[in-house]
């Protein structure tokens, strides 16, 4: 039988008809749809036993408690710990995404060396031994007793056990200097302590009992201090009698989150905080609104003695005079001063913006002076003393190398710089560190988890474990009124190739042959921490909060140091008992430094006063701003794209804001591109019009770039901080700029 083409057609036709009577087409249509619902490349969550663990966040020095929801051992969600004595149940957005950090694409997972390849900077793998050898050699070349040839460890979270280890190490090497960054929010407190004739010990802000805060640019509601603390105060506002509610006045050029939330926003000319503070002091003194008793008894430079006393300085800053500089109406200055006096106890806080940089020492002196005038030291609702965390090896027992702020380090003096991985969360321009390095041949080593930020400038990188991968201790936050201590536990195993800084310092010491052989050698970091916990236990002070049940018990009820260790390593928190009120020593309202009268006088004219003509020539004042946590050199969760890239809630690097009228006058367009040009260089930015921006000011974000979330780039190739003018005192708040399209 011959099969013709026609037969074939018939057969195929029959099959086609038949197919509809089989499940083939129907099942395939359904399966195709189901396939699209279960694409293999869509990740599936892990499934397993749900466990709750607790730990302490170490992403900034705030030390918030974190409840960790785990699938098996894998953390999948972080939330605040209700009733946690430090963080009050709160986690900031950066902390909420902390469990993503181990998987950040920008991680460094092996020792790296900065090399130049075809004119481009790259990081090539290197052995850990090679790094140690290079450092040991450099250490051996340091000549003892030459202060302009130092080895520095930069620690942005001082007070930890590892901080102590660093200081021990630096003590053992020639010219060792232990350096911290200026702690935003803590600056006023530091300056205040310097103004005391005798050491007063650590202090904190008694925010819970204060009735008013006058803040000079401190981001009170945007990640300042321990974020949860301020938030708790806001939370409680509603239930309070309106007369006793906390009143916040924000003195800031920018309408920051705090400024828009505050009861009053005092929009001040850039860099003129000192004038405003001295103007307030003038009103307080002239209207006799200050604590006359205290000042009479304790102030050593209040009387007009040699014409360089505080009163002489303040005399000059009449409301009208201060108004001329700060741009705030005389009436407003007077009213603010009166409000301050009426709402006692009040606190005046300095600090500044985490991206905009710290206020200068002079501004902080003027601000601290206000606190003293108001008599707000050592009394509830003011600035109160706290005790140190018990430590057998505290500085009083074992003198070690001094702690120094980076701005106090002489220029061109650092030969070897070791960057610790821990972050303050605030901006730190590389230019500032660079200025401190010897001009040639400085060696920079970074103990960092990520190949980003300052680390990108390091010659060597030793990868450190990141959050949740190692056990760490968390000391009291800078603003706290009582000391506290908690632990962050290693919920995850750190990847191979990562080295705990403690271990690394030990190895380095042994390679370099430095006599760093005390109890640390041969010990583990965990043992060191246990040792510290034991010290706390033995001091028998304070209470312990247990995260598991949310209960707080006196330390006396804890059966042993081991049990305290167990509670702390399960996210517990030790809280010191309140310190007794200490008698205040005499103080100088101008501070200790000899030439402070002149310096304050100059500072009172405003930071841009020195070359007034230039302002007009440049046209704009560039003010960087940032958000603590995202302006630092560490990493934030890739999910932060929600706040930056995907909503515009926070500005990305390269985004700026100008006043619409100024913008139009300079030919800029909303949403358009423009060049910012300063003495340091130029950068292309995106301009947004915002009626809240002061005319002639361009606000530029110090934030992550779009790439920062998916690659090793944190802040793009260019950072607005590179354009900022660094003052002699290492402030970078205001810079003259030209803005062109």
């Amino acid at each position: 039988m011959k099969i013709s083409r026609r037969d074939l057609f018939k057969f195929v036709g029959g099959s086609a008809v038949g197919a509809f009577l089989t499940p083939i087409p129907w099942k395939l249509i359904d399966d195709a749809a189901i396939w699209s619902q279960n694409w293999s490349w869509i990740p599936r969550p892990l499934h397993g036993e749900i466990r709750t663990k607790f730990t302490t966040c170490t992403l900034c020095p705030a030390g918030c408690g974190a409840r960790v929801r785990c699938v098996g051992d894998q953390p999948v969600m972080l939330t605040g710990v209700t009733r946690h004595p430090v963080s009050r149940g709160t986690l900031c957005p950066a902390g909420l995404g902390g469990h993503h950090l181990p998987y950040h694409p920008g991680r460094a997972l092996q020792p790296l060396q900065r090399v130049q390849k075809n004119g481009k900077i790259e990081f090539a793998p290197v052995s850990r031994e090679a790094v140690e050898a290079a450092l040991a050699a450099a250490i051996s070349r340091l000549k003892p007793g030459t202060p302009n040839e130092s080895i520095v460890i930069l620690d942005q979270q001082p007070g930890r056990t590892i901080s102590r280890v660093y200081r021990r190490f630096l003590e053992s090497v020639p010219n060792g200097v232990y350096v911290t960054t200026s702690a935003l929010g803590g600056d006023t407190l530091c300056v205040l302590q310097e103004m005391m004739e005798k050491p007063y010990g650590p202090v904190g802000y008694d925010l819970e009992n204060t009735r008013m805060i006058l803040s000079f640019g401190a981001p009170l509601l945007d990640g300042w201090g321990t974020p949860g603390r301020m938030m708790e105060i806001i939370k409680a506002q509603g239930s309070k009698d309106p007369d006793y509610r906390l009143k916040i006045i924000q003195v800031e050029t920018r309408q920051s989150r705090t400024a828009s939330f505050a009861d009053e926003w005092v929009a001040i000319n850039p860099g003129t905080e000192a004038a405003f503070a001295l103007g307030l002091a003038h009103v307080l003194i002239h209207e006799n609104l200050y604590d006359q008793d205290l000042i009479r008894r304790k102030a050593i430079d209040f009387r007009k003695k040699d014409g360089r006393a505080y009163l002489n300085l303040v005399e000059q800053f009449t409301p009208e005079y201060a108004a001329g500089i700060s741009g705030i109406a005389p009436d407003r200055i007077i009213a603010t001063a009166r409000t301050l006096a009426q709402n006692a106890p009040a606190i005046v806080i300095g600090g500044g913006d985490p991206g905009g940089g710290p206020l200068g020492k002079e501004e902080e002196t003027a601000i601290a002076g206000l606190n003293l005038l108001l008599g707000g030291i050592g009394r509830p609702g003011g600035i109160v003393a706290r005790r140190e965390v018990p430590d057998i090896m505290s500085t009083s027992h074992h003198p070690t190398v001094p702690e120094m702020e980076i701005r106090d380090v002489p220029d061109h003096s650092i030969r070897i710089l070791i960057l610790d991985a821990a972050e303050s969360g605030n901006a730190l321009p590389w230019a500032l560190l660079e200025r401190k390095l010897v001009p040639q041949g400085a060696l920079v080593v970074s103990l960092s988890s990520y190949l980003t930020g300052l680390t990108k400038h390091a010659g060597y990188i030793i990868p450190a474990p990141t959050y949740l991968e190692s056990i760490q201790d968390v000391p009291a936050p800078i603003d706290a009124t009582t000391a506290s201590f908690s632990l962050s536990s290693a919920l995850l195993t750190a990847p191979a190739g990562v080295t705990e800084p403690f271990e690394w310092v030990k190895r380095l010491a042994s390679v370099a042959g430095v006599p760093f052989v005390e109890e640390a050698q041969g010990s583990t970091y965990e043992a060191q921490l246990k040792n510290r916990v034991e010290t706390i236990y033995r001091a028998k002070r304070g209470t312990v909060f247990s995260s598991g049940d949310g209960k707080t018990v006196p330390i006396a009820e804890i059966s042993s140091a081991d049990q305290l260790w167990k509670l702390l390593s399960e996210g517990g928190c030790w809280i010191d008992s309140k310190a007794e009120t200490k008698p205040m020593p005499n103080f100088s309202l101008l501070g200790k430094t000899k030439d402070n009268f002149e310096r304050l006088q100059v500072a009172g004219q405003g930071r841009l006063s020195r070359e007034p003509g230039l302002v007009a020539a440049f046209g704009f004042i560039l003010m960087p701003f940032g958000w603590r946590g995202a302006t630092g050199n560490g990493q934030i969760s890739p999910l932060m794209t929600k706040l930056f890239q995907e909503s515009g809630l926070r500005k990305l690097s390269g985004q700026t804001a100008v006043n619409p009228e100024t913008g139009r006058a300079f030919g800029l367009t909303d949403g358009g591109q423009a060049w910012i040009e300063t003495e340091k260089g130029a950068m292309k930015v995106e301009v947004r019009f915002d009626a809240a921006v002061m005319p002639r000011v361009i606000e530029a974000a110090v934030g992550p770039s779009v790439e920062a979330f998916s690659t090793a780039e944190t802040q793009g190739t260019q950072n607005i901080l590179d354009l900022c003018h660094l003052d002699d005192d290492c402030a970078w708040r205001v810079t003259r700029a030209r803005v062109t399209t």
């Binding site: 026609r6 086609a16 009577l21 499940p23 083939i24 189901i34 279960n38 293999s40 036993e49």
Partner: protein, 197 residues
């Protein structure tokens, strides 16, 4: 030879061939069979010998989460050493219990990621017997090979054994329609969110 109605016969042959391919060949092509890592007799465990109930092994957590197939520690609770002489038990003890390794069971009734099923609500509140959905699984002596759809990677139990979805047994088929019709019969809401996550 000239056959009368030759064209018609050829057409019918096409239909017939397709019917055979579609109903018998197609399922074989579509589903991939995998044997379970070891054989397990539910009957031995639930019968007189061990006398366990379903919930003894397939238990709930305090917050109502269903534990599903018990972890190896549960097996290890009894099978510290060999209790019988089955070769599969030997594998269990040596390969899994001894090394504390979870057995990679293939779950017949595994629902896709987007489906939420609360055992506790069905078992505790609605008092539905396990057999209503799982059939006489708990009475079996062996574990049949696991069949998964090559396209969707779904277990065959979801569509049900019969490709026509005309099922002789009430538990055969665990597609959304099956859930929905039971909900409808019992007057329970068929809201999307009830079962989708």
């Amino acid at each position: 030879m000239v056959v009368k109605n030759r064209g018609r016969l050829i057409f019918l042959a096409g239909v017939l061939v397709m019917l055979v391919v579609g109903w018998f060949g197609f399922p074989r092509m579509l589903y991939q069979k995998t044997n379970q890592p070891i054989q397990f007799s539910h009957r031995v465990h639930t019968g007189d010998k061990a006398g366990l109930t379903c919930e003894d092994c397939h238990s709930f957590q305090a917050d109502g989460r269903f534990n599903g197939i018990p972890s190896i520690s549960k097996c290890g609770g009894c099978h510290v050493g060999l209790l019988g002489n089955s070769p599969d038990e030997k594998v269990l003890v040596e390969k899994y219990v001894a090394t504390n390794t979870e057995i990679p069971w293939l779950v017949y009734s595994r629902q896709p990621e987007n489906a939420y099923f609360s055992h506790v609500q069905h078992v505790r509140l609605a008092k539905i017997q396990c057999e209503r959905c799982h059939g006489p699984h708990g009475a079996g002596d062996t574990l049949r090979p696991y069949e998964s759809d090559r396209l969707t990677s779904y277990s065959r139990d979801i569509w049900g054994h019969s490709l026509s979805r005309i099922h002789s047994e009430v538990w055969d088929g665990k597609k959304m329609d099956n859930c929905a019709s039971c909900h409808e019969q019992r007057g329970v809401s068929n809201s999307c969110l009830l079962c989708h996550k």
